[in-house]
Amino acid sequence: MTSSFLLSLTTFAYLLCTFLYLAGTIFRFKPLLVAGTISGAATLLMQTAGIGLRWVESYRMGYGHAPLSNMYESLVFASWAIMIIYLVFEWRVRQRALGVFPALFSFLAMAYASFSKDVDSKIQPLVPALKSNWLIAHVMTCFLGYAAFAVSCGLSLLYLVRKRFPENPNPHGGFVAFLPGASQLEWFNYQLVLFGFLWLSVGIITGSVWANSAWGTYWSWDPKETWSLITWFIYAAVLHARNLQGWKGQRVAWLSVIGFGCVLFTYFGVNFLLSGLHSYAR
């Protein structure tokens, strides 16, 4: 059994998980949602094994580094982080009908990692700049933040869907009635933005501490750094806007969707469209 086999299987398992959540929500059939949760948790375990195996394989190849060093490995970790954050969240709030977007994002991350021609899945040795203990801390914290923002984006989208329909919908009136209430969705979203903001901040901080030891400057306005700061500004705005009259609700939901757009650009846009110091993340 190889890590690449386990990780390919993970990709399809996340697709199945997405369908289960989607079907469960649309047909308002609870057993399907339970199946979604079970398949999500099982896939997460399989993916964890896959990541662990890849780590072991890198040692066998004589490189020996955590599987967090390039685009492929970070995508796998992003997908893993989205699912674990979502499952913990689901367990905490006891709401199953929110899994469609997180499962979809996890699947898309894995599918992109596996099938895109731009992403090389080979285990590569670390270039000198990446040889640091900060690698694990920086990548893990950043992607925990990104993953929380992915789940938050999903919740914001559901919130916006929920808001399009009247507050007291007909109990047999489609899947919307199956979702938690708007104020509850807003609250969940806020919790995830808090979580994501904390980790994004720690991610930026660990990144700049690392940059200081590698390049001699903790902030150099490199496009990746700058875009992570832009994301930080947008989510800081989300946190502050919530206290402002007329902003809590739809505007905050839109802002957190925009915030996730910034996350995606920080991740993909900067790697493929802008050049900079983070070029090994390709």
């Binding site: 000198p128 700049a129 875009w227 832009i230 705005a237």
Partner: protein
């Protein structure tokens, strides 16, 4: 008169407003986006290669080509700091008042106006009710603290509060303070420190640093020697490690020897040396010129970047540049041919290939030998503000965590006898600075348990089910 008085107030109001905060966040984000889309730190001349003259001048005028160091970007940052300070000035006194030890007397009527409040009519006398409430609150919320009602006389209501996490309200100010500390640290670093580069040839000693910003040279209080530079590669061809063996020389004496690699710099007397790059330096090259007309050959030795007169002529030749691998065809030198009173001409000459284009003026050129040396490229930095930045980062991490995941939770209790109905009224009220939902659930649980224990005094809730069962069977 009143207008004059309110003007500073209005300015403070604007500066401390949350709307300004949002506007600044969006403005800083938008500015940063522009900064990543336009080329940075390029001159107006270079801009003209990419943009129309009008666009280039506009970009240069607005300093969009050096946006993050421009005055207007700094003004935005300064405004954010001012906004932050004004908010603190406006809100901190209120917060301090809120968390002071002193608790104003309150009564049941006041509590009933709280967003989260509830009233229970107990069938027990005051003292017993009090002990039930005390034990319940202690279990779920923590110790209660009695507040003097201010009423004189024996049968006043019993008023108490139970609270935790009072300090939590201050954490948001600590987050804001940490942002200021980081910015002050960055400012201190940019004024009191420097950044530069040093290219040290193996075996050579130098104390000169090329400064990054002003393109000038500064001298260190000590000298640095590079004993050796090594680069190793993986089987794949990717670089594995860059390593420089460095020595610090002070007054001609070697005081410290240390090897540095990327991610592991050397710091001496507050100045840090980072492994940044490496390269090959051409000391001198031997060349042979052939005059195609007379087939006469001239041999010369050219030290790097020093003009040498061609024997038998008044013309000069100089190596201006050296490339280890020019456009993937190997080593090349750039020769400059200077004729008196005429514009000099320059030509790239391939070292390893006897290429027919290896000509300058009408001479055929052949490079006979090269004398090269490795150099290590070091990034040199002095940053006395870095400790402030690190302190700010640590504080920020801790304070953000505490701001988000702690809260000031307060429970008010008022117990008073209702003489007419011979009952005791228990009024509860609660407030949490954060995580209101969780607090609300906890409050509801307390209310339900109290209701159980106070309304059915004969059946303490732990064994109530058991007792009723018994009743039924008897």
């Amino acid at each position: 008169m009143s207008k004059e008085k309110s003007a500073p107030g209005a300015v403070l109001g604007l500066l401390s407003s949350l709307k300004l905060t949002l506007v600044l966040f969006f403005a800083l984000a938008a500015a940063s986006v522009i900064g990543t889309l336009l080329p940075q730190e390029v001159s107006l001349l270079e801009l003209r290669d990419h943009f129309s003259p009008v666009a280039a001048s506009l970009i240069s005028l607005l300093a969009l080509n050096n946006l993050y160091h421009s005055i207007w970007f700094r003004i935005l940052l300064l405004l954010l700091c001012t906004n932050l300070a004004a908010c603190t000035l406006e809100r901190l006194p209120k917060t301090i008042r809120l968390i002071r030890r002193f608790e104003a007397p309150f009564d049941a009527q006041k509590l009933s106006k709280f967003g989260l409040s509830s009233s229970i009519a107990a069938a027990l006398p005051l003292e017993q009710t009090q002990s039930v409430v005390e034990s319940s609150v202690c279990e779920t919320f923590g110790r209660m603290c009695r507040i003097e009602s201010g009423q004189v006389g024996g049968l006043g209501p019993f008023c108490a509060v139970s609270e935790t996490g009072r300090w939590s309200r201050l954490m948001v100010y600590v987050v804001h303070l940490s942002v200021l500390i980081v910015l002050v640290g960055a400012l201190a670093g940019s004024y009191l420190g420097f950044k530069g580069t040093m290219n040290l040839i193996e075996g050579e000693t130098s104390d000169k640093v090329m400064l990054a910003e002003s393109e000038s040279v500064t001298e260190l209080p000590f000298a640095l020697r590079c004993d050796k530079f090594e680069v190793s590669f993986y089987d794949t061809g990717a670089p594995k490690e860059f390593k420089s063996d460095l020595a610090i020389v002070e007054n001609g004496r070697e005081v410290l020897k240390q090897s540095i690699v990327v991610n592991d710099p050397l710091t001496y007397e507050g100045i840090t040396f980072y492994q940044a790059s490496y390269g090959t330096y051409l000391k001198e090259a031997g060349i042979e010129l052939t005059d195609p007309d007379s087939s006469k050959k001239i041999a010369m030795t050219l030290p790097f970047r020093q003009p040498v007169t061609i024997p038998g002529t008044s013309d000069q030749l100089m190596i201006a540049e050296y490339q280890e691998d020019l456009m993937r065809v190997g080593q090349a030198i750039e020769l400059v041919y200077g004729k008196k009173g005429q514009q000099s001409s320059a030509k790239w000459i391939l070292v390893d290939r006897p290429y027919h284009g290896n000509r300058i003026e009408n001479y055929l050129v052949r490079v006979t030998q090269t004398d090269k040396a490795r150099f290590t490229g070091l990034q040199v930095k002095k940053d006395p503000g870095i400790w402030l930045v690190w302190a700010g980062f640590t504080l920020m991490t801790l304070a953000i965590g505490l701001t988000f995941y702690s809260s000031h939770r307060k429970l008010w209790v008022c117990i008073e006898p209702d003489k007419k109905r011979k009952k005791t009224i228990v009024t509860l009220a609660g407030r949490a600075s954060r995580n209101e939902q969780v607090f609300k659930e906890k409050f509801e649980a307390l209310r339900a348990s109290l209701e159980n224990r106070l309304k059915n005094p004969s059946a303490p809730h732990e064994i109530r089910g058991h007792k009723t069962d018994k009743k039924g069977t008897e």
